[in-house]
Symmetry: C2
């Protein structure tokens, strides 16, 4: 943890996306980070955004992305730009020595992400993706249960899903349905989480084979609005169904269920149920029990806190960047890519071996 | 419903299986049915079973299956015999004019079940399978929600699973792991329910293509201990994992979740959660709400009551047998067969068209 005497990590926000509102608040709430600057291609837009989000007067307004990269009073950049711009601006940020908190999906494909990571490594900067739920204290508890050989045993299957119903305006106008912006559509936006959840439950072991399930829905520009990936399990990700964000994992000895893994029902706490060693003939003598995990700050602020902690270790103590986060980003992106490939190839099975 | 003046339907129990204890109690609890007789190949076994289950002195004890078929004071037979014996004894029961409540899986394959149904039709007797949860009043409420175009919309995906952890004794000695008894193993025993649940959510429309998922576990006799079927969704059925019995259905407008669909946590009531029209940007302003459905009698007694009602209609009012129940039994068995075929053919895809 950051000690009280450490100076907060100074974060710049590059681009004024909707999600940047949530993360701006998270930076405010994280005890070891502060918003130092914001950049937009339009000065007006940046100013409006700063005001709307209650930024202090001291926050610098940049009217170009280049300019925030050169700001010596910015340690790290939060990059919520459309996915298609990630590779350019993340590479340039790393070249400028800025640590990077990168929105998901991290890139349009793994080749792009590998370029980003290589530049980060070369420049000794941290990269972490914007998967908020990974940082909720509940997630640590889920992990504890999933890897408890006595309470959960060995994973047999895990179902994960993420759907949200886009309204007409969203389905016509959101950047997540535009091929030149967030061109991975529902797969990149929602699939990212369900895929990450399955990887998480599998201790980040990649599936051997991946395929898309028949029934993908594309919009007229060819962007995925709804699809489902098959690994050992099937994961639906769709903009065309009512909300679902479930992890249901079944092990030889235990069962885990989370109904709201991406966004907890409440900001200050989150729950899950577990059941262990239910007898065959009368399983409900061991009824599922509910566990609630409180969090001092929302999960997105936990994410910023963890990112700022890692940056602080590097900046103040000469530590190496932590390879865990880019590694799991890459694995998630690999699976996204393979499902996209399968969608494009009429649900052909795609082998991940050697990737 | 049976009126109070109707004589209860007299049910004979053929075979003293473990499950017959539960159903004996259910017959007792059903207001329109009564246990009239029990048969075992061993007189001693039948007597012990009758005593252990508190049968009245008036219940006739038969020491052969043939003998109970000829009993004129038996209207209907409950057949919990091992699956491999279903075709023989269900056909003989129908030929003897007995209505049939047949344990699941209904047969070793659809060809056998078709023989049974043909004989029932020829003899004008009712056949209903032993899928208890289908008769719980909760299930009617689930159906109401799933087919509500405003609250649920159109089904996008449904996940169903059923696992129970067999202990060493079960895995070595239970009839459900013996090839010559309940030779369909976990597929016939647990898969039956998960398959039925998926069919139920799909308004009993058969999937076009079915396949087994890689990773089937067989015992040394070749009986399935663990497998998973893929239709549009994947359904795990396994004796090798902790309890899970979930239906998670996602529609364009609504989401449904049931955690205990096969055996409710409690006998007198059962719950499920629904969520409707969650907004994309802030879905949990519509948090899932829990619904609880009370039942006067346990679901297995509801099953007996429905069966006895149908038998009463035929016996007392000259009605035709109800084709709904054998029709959905057949569909369930069709999917079981196709998954078994895929297991035997190294996960090959099996088309159900024309079956």
């Amino acid at each position: 943890m950051a000690t009280v005497t450490d100076t907060p990590i100074r974060i710049g926000v590059i681009g004024c996306a909707e999600i940047a509102r949530t993360v701006s608040r998270a930076i405010d709430l994280a005890p070891n980070a502060t918003i130092a600057a914001v950049a937009s291609r339009s000065l007006e837009k940046a100013k409006t955004f700063a005001t709307a989000n209650g930024y202090k007067q001291s926050v610098k307004i940049h009217c170009s992305y280049e300019s925030i990269l050169e700001d010596p009073e910015v340690d790290a950049l939060y990059i919520p730009l459309p996915t298609s711009l990630h590779v350019e601006w993340a590479v340039r940020a790393a070249e400028s020595g800025k640590h990077i908190l990168l929105e998901k999906p991290v890139a349009m494909n793994v080749a792009e992400f590998d370029k980003i990571v290589a530049t980060c490594e070369k420049n000794g900067v941290q990269i972490t993706d914007g998967t908020m739920w990974a940082h909720h204290p509940r997630t640590a508890k889920l992990k504890e249960f999933l890897f408890d050989s006595d309470r959960f045993g060995q994973l047999k299957n895990v179902h994960s899903s993420f759907s949200l119903a886009g309204d007409e305006d969203f389905l016509n106008n959101d950047i997540r349905v535009k091929p030149n912006l967030d061109g991975l559509g529902a797969l990149g936006d929602l699939g990212w989480y369900a895929i990450r959840a399955a990887l998480f439950a599998n201790n980040f072991e990649l599936p051997k084979i991946v395929a898309a399930s028949p029934g993908t829905v594309l919009n007229e520009s060819g962007v995925i609005l709804s699809c489902a990936g098959k690994t050992d399990e099937l994961q639906p990700y769709t903009f065309l169904a009512n909300v679902a964000m479930e992890i249901a994992a079944v092990g030889t000895k235990g069962t885990l269920c989370v109904q709201d893994f991406v966004i907890p029902f409440e900001e200050t706490q989150a729950s899950f149920t577990t059941c262990t060693k239910a007898p065959f003939m009368n399983p409900w003598v061991n009824r599922p029990s509910e566990h609630t995990v409180k969090t001092e700050i929302p999960q997105e602020a936990c994410m910023v806190r963890e990112f700022a902690r890692l940056v602080g270790e590097i900046k103040n103590k000469g530590a190496e960047p932590d390879g865990f986060w880019p590694n799991i980003s890459r694995k998630t992106q690999l699976v996204v890519d393979a499902i996209k490939e399968s969608v494009d190839k009429n649900c052909e099975q795609i082998s991940l071996s050697g990737r």
